[in-house]
């Protein structure tokens, strides 16, 4: 889950929540670094279930290219 932790000291950590407990939250930022954070140092935690770290492909493919991808995927199903 995409998570942004705002620290009382002013910094922010944005990344993927690896674990959360009553007193701690563990976040791996999108650079790969793992942060074990004591919640007493946290001002706010914002979680976005719908946000994916995967880059959007919206607009990268034309309508006919999407048709080609879908056709290819369907052909895999038929082959099986």
């Amino acid at each position: 889950m995409d998570t942004t932790v705002s620290m009382k000291s002013g910094g922010k950590i944005n990344g993927r929540r690896l674990n959360e407990e009553t007193f701690t939250i563990v976040v791996q930022d999108y650079g790969g670094k793992v942060h074990v954070i004591d919640k007493t140092n946290v001002a706010e935690v914002v979680k976005d279930r719908k946000k994916s770290p995967m880059p959007s492909y919206g607009g990268k493919l034309s309508a006919s290219e999407i048709d080609d991808v879908v056709s290819f995927l369907v052909s895999l199903q038929e082959a099986r």
Binding site: T22, F23, K47
Partner: protein, 526 residues
């Protein structure tokens, strides 16, 4: 010096005698923990105050007792003059030196392989009376052990495990009798509360929680549905010695989630029943959830309170029920006095003046799934609450979550699972837990301490202004009893699914609580 103290403690163990009168007056010897909830009233409150809000930060581990089992330890220890009696899953009773954790004796019950269990081979502790320790095993036996040696004095079966009868509760010892409930609410058993002669094991009375043909209450079951009506009694009740009432919680009707086959209120499931201690005769009952289709057992520890209700002295029973409402009842009659939700609920408009819930339409489980609050695990569950006479607050471990309830097939076959559906969690929300302090007569929230996951541990409150409990992720916590402020925490490394107790030995107060598969004892560290 420490060795000498330990030797004295062990010497005391072999001479321990606990007549009924000592349990009756347990409040006068707070250095011991003589019955499941500490005292018959179910308050799980101690007047010990050597550990208090000002010094609890110095709490440290005195000893640890590992179980070696795969199931979690849920025991609530009994402590008698320096000896602690505990159970460990799946079939073990131990006597320990309460000062050092040294094992004095071990009893291991042979149990069958073909148990029918909804919820694993757990156990929540023993009872003591005179020179015996009483244990109910997972295969529904009541066993009396010699307190000095652990040798079996008598062993009686109170249910056929092949039909789903089981036991996980700590028995309740009163004058001359030892009382137990029974598990099996997901197997269509016929529930009961039993009393046995403490010396001989002879059954003295049995009170069923589901009526038979021709008995009062059977009209609340359509057809012959009472024959598989469940009504298990799997959590230790409380005792009112003044009225000689054993007050016990009753579990769900069977099948759990498909009510089509058992139209009616389904007495006395999801009720508190008050039984004459001498005869087992039912003196009153209070039905929390008529025709329950959500598995909301009323198997919470009844908390008996001599307090004030709306400005007048009153003898009450208070409980936070699994159905999300906090209730206050009159103790002598079971009369409804007050109710208020203590967690989110979406099944009732409220409770009417007669104490009956005003149910909302469309709340039954469906084939497709029906989202409702609370989940089947309830707003709380079997985890012991606590009541502090010092602060006049009712402390309850809570679970804030809803669930999609499903209805399924419900054909009764003896010894087979009979639940008629189930639940799935709501992926759109992140459930959480809390310790909440409620005002006794109103149920108004005084404070809460939020936890990341749903509560699963019981609560102990003390005269040292502390509330002890645990989290599902392995933290033991101490909160200020008046404010909920976190005073101390300890990472125990396993979910806490047990209730804390306190005692004093060798001049020092201890807090004992099972964490994961180990029992911890904490004391002040200099």
């Amino acid at each position: 010096m420490r060795l000498a103290t330990a030797a004295l403690s062990l010497a005391a163990a072999v001479s321990a005698q606990v007549p009924y009168e000592r349990i009756l007056e347990a409040r006068k010897e707070p250095h011991n923990w003589l019955t499941y909830s500490g005292t018959y009233d179910g308050q799980r409150y101690s007047s010990l105050n050597q550990i208090h809000a000002g010094n609890v930060k110095k709490l440290g581990v005195a000893w640890v007792q590992q179980s070696g089992a795969t199931e979690p330890t849920q025991t609530s220890p009994i402590v008698v003059d320096g000896t602690m009696y505990i159970t460990e899953p799946p079939n073990v009773v131990k006597a320990l030196d309460a000062l050092t954790g040294t094992v004095i004796w071990t009893y291991k019950k042979t149990i069958p392989d073909d148990l029918r269990l909804c919820c694993s081979r757990v156990n929540r502790g023993v009872a003591v009376l005179d020179d015996m320790v009483y244990y109910t095993s997972i295969d529904a036996h009541m066993i009396a052990l010699d307190a000095k040696t652990g040798r079996v004095r008598w062993d009686v079966s109170f249910g056929d495990h092949k039909l789903g009868y089981s036991s996980t509760n700590a028995p309740l010892a009163i004058k001359g009798k030892v009382i137990t409930g029974v598990g099996g609410g997901e197997y269509g058993i016929r529930g009961f509360v039993d009393a046995y002669d403490a010396k001989t094991g002879k059954r003295l009375w049995r009170t069923h929680t589901v009526p038979a043909r021709g008995e009062p209450g059977v009209e609340t079951w359509a057809g012959k549905s009472y024959e598989s009506g469940s009504g298990s009694t799997w959590v230790t009740g409380s005792y009112d010695p003044v009225n000689n009432l054993v007050i016990w919680g009753v579990g769900n009707p069977g099948p759990d989630w498909n009510g089509d086959v058992r139209k009616g209120d389904n007495l006395y499931t999801d009720s508190f029943i008050a039984l004459d201690g001498g005869t087992g005769e039912m003196k009153w009952f209070y039905l929390f959830t008529p025709h329950d289709t959500h598995d909301w057992d009323a198997t919470q520890v009844p908390v008996l309170i001599d307090g004030t209700f709306r400005g007048q002295p009153r003898k009450m029973v208070a409980t936070a029920n699994r159905n999300a409402f906090y209730y206050v009842l009159d103790r002598a009659t079971g009369k409804y006095l007050h109710a208020k939700p203590y967690v989110k609920q979406t099944w009732a408009r409220g409770i009417d003046d007669n104490g009956r819930p005003m149910m909302l339409p469309g709340t039954d489980p469906t084939v497709e799934g029906n989202l409702l609050y609370p989940s089947l695990a309830g707003g709380t569950n079997w985890f012991s609450p606590s009541w502090s006479p010092k602060h006049n607050l009712f402390y309850v471990p809570v679970r804030e979550e809803g669930a999609y309830y499903y209805k399924g097939e419900a054909e009764f076959k003896p010894g087979a699972l009979f639940n008629g559906g189930g639940q799935r969690s709501n992926p759109a929300e992140e459930p959480y837990g809390a310790i909440r302090a409620l005002e006794t007569d109103s149920g108004n929230l005084k404070w809460e301490f939020r936890m990341k996951t749903q509560a699963s541990a019981g609560i102990l409150s003390t005269a040292g202004d502390i509330v002890f409990s645990g989290t599902g992720q392995g933290d033991v916590i101490a909160l200020h009893a008046a404010t909920g402020e976190l005073l101390w925490k300890f990472k125990g490394g396993g979910g806490v699914i047990a209730a804390p107790v306190t005692y004093l030995v060798g001049g020092k107060q201890y807090i004992s609580l099972a964490v994961g598969r180990a029992l911890f004892a904490f004391t002040l560290v200099e």
